[in-house]
Every structure is written in structure tokens, then in C-alpha cells.
């Protein structure tokens, strides 16, 4: 019997030893140019057409995959990446000039044909029902016709006037056509970036290694291993034990401090208020909610300064941002008066107002929403916090909304580092859009005008005008905090976080001390 047990243990041990991948433990040898990055969650796809999903983008964008255009983290402007320039011939016709001599890491040439292939795969969806790519959401039903003039010239014709086409192309990564079929998602993206995928072991690790023939400057890091640790304390601990060199998405209480830095997520968290169900259909109730939230105290104490008080859905790099906008200042006294006035006019203010919170929105979100709910209660409204996981929360956040819903507030967050408000204003503010409860003809007209205007002052002014109505007349959106991320680095690496860190941490930006 003992022999059987011993033999079994030995056999299973050998199999296990052969089958488990490494966690990418980092040696402290000075010659070692490998790093380990600890992240909260594993990518749910490695296909280029899903790069907009945050965990996928973290790993692939800019490291393995590049696009015709990219966002300059310094100012949020769209700048060339694999393109060298572009020209708007008419409202629907564009010409893109591409870099020459660039190769994918499988040796295939990157040229206008490859670019057209990738654009068509994502946008036109020849196999749309099979791929169902996340990045397609940026195109909102728009289709394109591509024409290859020569190896470095690509003509693109859009189905509708599209003044922000270069920005849409930021999230259209280029992958070698041979590795990126049109009828299935790929697990082995082959890009033009400085790194290539060496090994992926589900739930264990993803290893990127330096692409030897990369045309650009040689990065200092030869190998990067991504590991996923759900607990923020464990990720932070991995820095102090030298198991990881960069740990992302940390909670303030878990970091030692000296090696930590914050980075902008270009993301605002807000309450989206129902405007069509009692008691929320009374604008005084919505205004009272907007005035009741003590944003400064919440950010300073509960978020420990990892963020800023917010009055708008977008940050200052976005053209929907209203410069100098005061928003709806904290005024609990006035909010109480508004509630009392509504009550005097027959509005039932005792009715329960559910505040639907998504549990994994950011570290410590539960306590923050507790404070928000407490503030709303203090002005005389019966707010009730309801923490939901993403599936249950989506039912409240997205159309079709529940038929017999009460007057609700849904806690959400939106990230937009593209510089253009079209990428989130439309879905939240236009009637019948996926996340919109609002039906304000003025706002609809302004956003539609803005969306068809070329990039420039007019487009920005129209978006800002619409946003101002949404914040201070409709009291439909109540932003209360801009979210920052918190990361920690080991003592052997240099890394300076920037506005793109949240979406695409560039390994090439990491150097050794």
C-alpha cells in the first residue's frame, strides 16, 4: 500500500513539475534584464481586435502590437505610429502614408495590404458574428472601404463622415495576417512592436520577449513576465520580496510609499440618475443629490488622495472638458431645501432610491459609495446602497433597463484618453443609446452636431455645451471623483508612469538602475 502511495506521489510530482509554468520570479542578478509585472487580472483575450479591453491592452498595446496612430500621453493628441502622415481628402475620404521597411515579428512585411487586412477584419467584420470584437465598439456601426495604392499608401473611405478617423485607428492594432485569421480570435498575436509573445500559460503567466529585429531603439528589458494576483496586498508584497518589479492597481494601504507613484486613469466615476421615474423625475431631487456629495472629503479621506474631486465625466485632455467649470458645489443646506420644496409639492421623498454600485470598479469603492449614500441620506432622501457584481450591475447599467425599475442611481466610471468626447458622450447622453436614460432634445442636437464637426474649436464647444446642460440643468450625470491608479516599482528598475499607463504600460519605458 505504502509503495503504491509513494509511486503515485512520485508520478504525479513529475507530471506536475513538467506541467506548471513559472511565475516569473525575478533574479536579483545585475546582469538580469528580465522583469516581472504583477497585475490584478488576466487578459480574457489576446486578439488584437480586443485590445481595448483593459487587461489585454495593458499587455499588448505598444509592446507587441502597434497601430497606424497612437495617443501622445503628454497631451492626449492623436499622433502617427505605423503611419507617417495622413490627409483628409473629403469628409469621408482619407489617405494614410505608412512607414516602409517595418516587419512583423514573424518576418512578414508590414505594408498597406496588411494594414487594410487588419482594418477590414475589425471594422467590416467579414466574420462579424464569429469574432464579435470589443474594439468594434469604437466604430458605432460605421464601415470602411480600403484601397491599397502602393505598399506605403492606403486610401480609406468611411460610410459616414468621420472627422475622428485617425483617433478610431488608435485601437485598430496591426497583426501579421498569417497569424490573425478572420474566422477566429487568435491567441498568438504577431505585431510590429518591440516585444513578441513567448509563452502564455492560462492563469499562471504570460511572457513577452524582446523582438530581436525590432526596427526601433532596443529596449532595456529583454523579457517581461506578467503574473496575476487578485489580492492587492499580495501584489504589493511581491515588490518588497523582489518577486516583481512593477505592481499595478494597488490600494493605498498596501504600499510602502517610497517606491510608489500615482498615474491618471483618465477615468471619472459618477452617478447616472434616472430622469424618468419618481422621485428622480423631479429635477430638484436630482439637483439635491448632486449638491449633497462632499467630493473633497471623500477623495481626501476614503480615497486617501488617490484621485481628485470631479465635476465632469472627462479629464482636461478631452475636448468635452469645460475649462474653469465649477459644476455643482457641495451645499447640503440648499439640497435639504430642494428636497423640502419637492416634498411640499407632493413628491414622495421617503421612497427608496437604490444606488447600484459595481463591486470591482476600483480599490475601496464600497467605502466610497457608503459615504456617497450617507451624504444623500443626510439631505432627506432615502438612498440605499446595493452592491452588485458586474453581471447584475450591467442589467441596471445597460439597455434594455428593467421594466419596473424604481428611480435609481447607477454608479459607473468611464475612461476616455482619446481626447475626443464622442467615445463616451454618445453612449451615455443620446436617447436609446446603450447606457443612456436621458432624452433631452437640446443635448441630442448639440451632440449630433458636435459628432459631425471636424476636430477643432467648434466640435469642442458643442460637446462642452451639451455637457454643461447634462451636469447643471438636467442633473443627469453626477461625477464625483477622477480616479488615479497606484503602482509600485522595485529598487532595481526605473519607470515613470504617464497617462497611458492605465491602458498600455510600455515595457520599453522601463530601464534598470
Amino acid at each position: 500500500m505504502a509503495a503504491v502511495v509513494l509511486t503515485s506521489v512520485t508520478i504525479v510530482s513529475l507530471i506536475a513539475a513538467c506541467s506548471t509554468g513559472g511565475s516569473g520570479k525575478t533574479s536579483t542578478s545585475p546582469a538580469n534584464t528580465a522583469i516581472t509585472i504583477a497585475e490584478p487580472t488576466e487578459p480574457i483575450s489576446l486578439d488584437p481586435c480586443n485590445s481595448q479591453l483593459q487587461d489585454t491592452g495593458y499587455v499588448l498595446v505598444g509592446n507587441v502590437l502597434q497601430a497606424l496612430t497612437t495617443i501622445d500621453p503628454a497631451n492626449g493628441k492623436t499622433v502617427p505610429q505605423l503611419a507617417t502622415s495622413w490627409k483628409e481628402n473629403s469628409t469621408t475620404d482619407w489617405t494614410f502614408k505608412l512607414k516602409s521597411g517595418v516587419k512583423f515579428s514573424d518576418g512578414a512585411a508590414f505594408d498597406a495590404t496588411a494594414a487594410a487586412y487588419n482594418i477590414n477584419r475589425l471594422v467590416n467584420g467579414t466574420s462579424a458574428d464569429i469574432l464579435a470584437c470589443a474594439n468594434r465598439s469604437n466604430w458605432a456601426g460605421e464601415t470602411v472601404v480600403t484601397k491599397v495604392t502602393n505598399a506605403t499608401t492606403l486610401e480609406i473611405t468611411t460610410s459616414v463622415p468621420d472627422p475622428v478617423l485617425p483617433t478610431r485607428l488608435v485601437w485598430t492594432e496591426m497583426s501579421s495576417p498569417d497569424a490573425t485569421p478572420t474566422d477566429t480570435l487568435t491567441k498568438t498575436p504577431i505585431g510590429t512592436g518591440p516585444y513578441e509573445v513567448e509563452k502564455y500559460t492560462p492563469t499562471v503567466s504570460l511572457v513577452l520577449s524582446r523582438y530581436a529585429k525590432y526596427a526601433g531603439p532596443k529596449p532595456a528589458v529583454a523579457k517581461a513576465t506578467y503574473v496575476w494576483r487578485a489580492a492587492t496586498s499580495v501584489r504589493a508584497d511581491m515588490i518588497s520580496t523582489n518577486e516583481a518589479d512593477i505592481a499595478l492597481g494597488l490600494a493605498p494601504q498596501d504600499v510602502a510609499g517610497v517606491k510608489s507613484q500615482t498615474y491618471s486613469l483618465s477615468e471619472a466615476t459618477f452617478l447616472r440618475l434616472d430622469t424618468d421615474v419618481a422621485p428622480m423625475d423631479d429635477p430638484r431631487i436630482r439637483e439635491a443629490i448632486a449638491e449633497s456629495i462632499d467630493r473633497k472629503t471623500i477623495v481626501k479621506t476614503l480615497m486617501q488622495g488617490i484621485g481628485e474631486p470631479a465635476q465632469q465625466m472627462v479629464t482636461s485632455i478631452n475636448n468635452g472638458y469645460i475649462p474653469g467649470f465649477a459644476g455643482v458645489p457641495y451645499d447640503a443646506t440648499h439640497a435639504k431645501k430642494l428636497v423640502a420644496a419637492a416634498k411640499a409639492d407632493g413628491v414622495d421623498v421617503s421612497v427608496s432610491i437604490p444606488i447600484y454600485n459595481r463591486v470591482d470598479l476600483y480599490p475601496g469603492e464600497d467605502q466610497v459609495i457608503q459615504a456617497v449614500v450617507s451624504d444623500i441620506k443626510k439631505v432627506g432622501l432615502n438612498a440605499q446602497q446595493d452592491n452588485l457584481d458586474v453581471g447584475a450591475w450591467t442589467i441596471q447599467n445597460s439597455r434594455p433597463f428593467p421594466a419596473d425599475r424604481p428611480g435609481r442611481a447607477v454608479v459607473s466610471a468611464t475612461n476616455n484618453n482619446t481626447g475626443d468626447a464622442a467615445f463616451n458622450f454618445l453612449t451615455y447622453m443620446l436617447p436609446d443609446q446603450r447606457h443612456s436614460v436621458l432624452d433631452d432634445p437640446k443635448v441630442t442636437a448639440l451632440i449630433n452636431q458636435a459628432n459631425s464637426a471636424p476636430i477643432g474649436k467648434t466640435r469642442s464647444a458643442l460637446f462642452q455645451k451639451a455637457a454643461k446642460i447634462v451636469y447643471t440643468t438636467d442633473y443627469y450625470m453626477v461625477p464625483f471623483a477622477y480616479l488615479d491608479g497606484l503602482l509600485e516599482t522595485s529598487s532595481r528598475v526605473n519607470y515613470k508612469a504617464n497617462d497611458l499607463t492605465a491602458n498600455a504600460l510600455q515595457i520599453a519605458d522601463v530601464t534598470f538602475k
Partner: protein, 305 residues
């Protein structure tokens, strides 16, 4: 024996089918995975397209029959996250899951049997009280707390072990110890009780009069006769350990089927979840057979009929 095993197999298969049906329906209650797999600004058309591509737009009964038809020949569908047949990632973690469970239960037995025996020999004396308090602590302490404290002490402060992962043998220490603590607590109490009854039996007094050493009397004669309740509880404990990889997986990111299933729930990867539940179910059924056979081996009076 043949008819007994056949009957057990039939009942186990029925139980497994029941569990699979419950898991299917509960998983679907969480809604479409589109919320996770498409970004916030996805259009309604895009969500519909995603649901159509993966069959989530079908009535739930139709989805269920599609699942039954596939599962009947072990096809659980494709994993949404890994874009491969769902059983593949599950099978990948079978060796580490089995080994983790085996190490944990062996550690539990190696610690619990001597401790329980000592407590029984010195019943109501200081050693018994110390061991009883220790075993109650082991039983009562929550696994995730033990795991985090273990990381703090042995990884962060003492730098003896890694915080997480599965790189080398050191990565196994904290997960195995965490997983074995509750079984140590439970088994120590069971061994103590069973041994206390056995040590007072007439044949034990006879073995003493025959001049056998205390070690032989307690650990050979005593333990063999006290083994039935220990085997019974060990069987339950192994089942707990097999599923207990979930906490170990979440805190230590230790690759096990339990952790894979938690990840699958988070990722709304129904196919992997169902394949994982199926395989764990098969392992538990197999385990039950083994325990029955050990039971018969340990006590020839037991007949598998």
C-alpha cells in the same frame, strides 16, 4: 463487489448529472458574458452580435439542450477566455490539483495521527489539553486569513518563501500548509476520540500483558482498530481539500482546478466552469470508490454488497 460498485457508479453518475444541471442554470442566472467581453461603449447591435455568436440569444432551454448534447460526448464547448476546447485548460491543472491535495492530506495525516494518539494516551492531562486547543484553532481559523498571515510572516518578513505563484518547491509550502490546517484540526480530534475508545478495550490490555512496547501497542494495534472513523473522516477531508484549492488559488494564485473555476466564474466562462465541475465530480466519485476499498481492506468485516 461488482454489483456494489455498479450501484455506486449509477448513483454517483446521477448525482453528477444533477450537479451539472444546477451549475448550468446558476451560471446562466449571472447574465450574458457580453458585459465583460465588450467595452462600456459597445452598441446594442454589437452586444446582440456577441450573444448570437456564442448562442446566448437562444432560449435558455435551447441552450441547455445544446449543452446536454455536447456534454454527452464530453464536449463542453469552447472557452470564451482561452479560445480552445474548455476541457483543455482544466486538464492542464489536474496534476497540480491532485498533488496539492495529496500533499495537504498527507501532511494532515502525518501531523494529526501522532497528535491525536498522544492526546488519547494522555487524556485530560496537559498534553491532551494543549493538543485539543491547537486542533480547535486549526479547525476554526479561516483559510484566507491564514494564507495572508503566512505571506506576511514567511515571505515579507522572513523572506523564506515566495508570496505566490508556482515556481519551485518553496511555492508549495504555504498553499499546502494552509490547505492542511483545517484537516489537521478535524483529524486530530477524530483520532483522539477513536484512539481513546480503542485504548480502553480489552484486547489492548491483553497486548500490554503480552509485553508489547507502548509504541507498538498504540501505533500498530490501537491505530488499526481505530482506523475506521479516521478513514471515514479522511475521505470527507480529501473532498474538502480537493475543492479547497479555491482559497489557496485566489490568495496564492496557485494553479489548480479550483482556482481555474473561480477565474471562470469571474470571466463568465461557462464552458470552463462546467468542464471543471465535471472533472472535479469525476475525481470525487473515483475517490469515493477508493475510500470504500480502503475501508474493506482496513476492516475485513466490512463487505461491499
Amino acid at each position: 463487489v461488482g454489483s456494489y460498485l455498479l450501484r455506486r457508479l449509477l448513483f454517483s453518475a446521477l448525482a453528477l448529472v444533477g450537479v451539472m444541471i444546477i451549475v448550468f442554470w446558476l451560471a446562466r442566472l449571472t447574465g450574458s458574458p457580453a458585459a465583460l467581453y465588450l467595452p462600456d461603449n459597445a452598441t446594442t447591435e454589437q452586444v446582440n452580435s456577441f450573444n448570437h455568436a456564442h448562442g446566448y440569444d437562444q432560449p435558455i432551454v435551447v441552450q441547455f439542450w445544446t449543452f446536454v448534447a455536447g456534454a454527452s460526448h464530453l464536449d463542453f464547448g469552447n472557452s470564451l477566455s482561452y479560445n480552445e476546447p474548455a476541457m483543455q485548460p482544466v486538464l492542464q491543472f489536474v496534476p497540480t490539483t491532485l498533488l496539492l491535495s495529496l500533499y495537504a492530506i498527507l501532511l494532515a495525516l502525518v501531523v494529526a495521527i501522532p497528535l491525536g494518539s498522544i492526546a488519547a494516551v494522555y487524556k485530560f492531562r496537559l498534553a491532551d489539553r494543549v493538543i485539543t486547543v491547537f486542533s480547535l484553532f486549526c479547525s476554526a481559523l479561516p483559510g484566507f486569513w491564514i494564507a495572508l498571515v503566512g505571506i506576511l510572516i514567511f515571505a515579507v518578513n522572513l523572506h523564506l518563501l515566495p508570496t505566490s505563484g508556482a515556481l519551485d518547491w518553496r511555492s508549495w509550502v504555504l498553499p499546502v500548509v494552509t490547505l492542511s490546517l483545517k484537516p489537521i484540526g478535524v483529524l486530530t480530534q477524530v483520532v483522539r476520540g477513536a484512539m481513546a475508545d480503542t485504548l480502553g478495550a480489552g484486547f489492548m490490555i491483553a497486548s500490554r500483558s503480552r509485553g508489547f512496547s507502548p509504541f507498538r501497542r498504540v501505533m500498530i494495534h490501537g491505530l488499526r482498530n481505530a482506523s475506521l472513523p479516521i478513514i471515514t473522516v479522511s475521505g470527507d477531508t480529501v473532498r474538502h481539500v480537493l475543492n479547497g484549492g479555491i482559497i489557496v488559488g485566489v490568495v496564492f494564485s496557485f494553479p489548480s482546478i479550483g482556482f481555474l473555476m473561480v477565474t471562470a466564474v469571474e470571466n463568465r466562462d461557462f464552458a470552463v466552469l462546467q468542464a471543471g465541475v465535471f472533472l472535479i465530480g469525476i475525481l470525487i466519485v473515483a475517490l469515493n470508490f477508493v475510500i470504500d476499498l480502503i475501508y474493506a481492506y482496513a476492516d475485513p468485516r466490512v463487505r461491499l454488497t
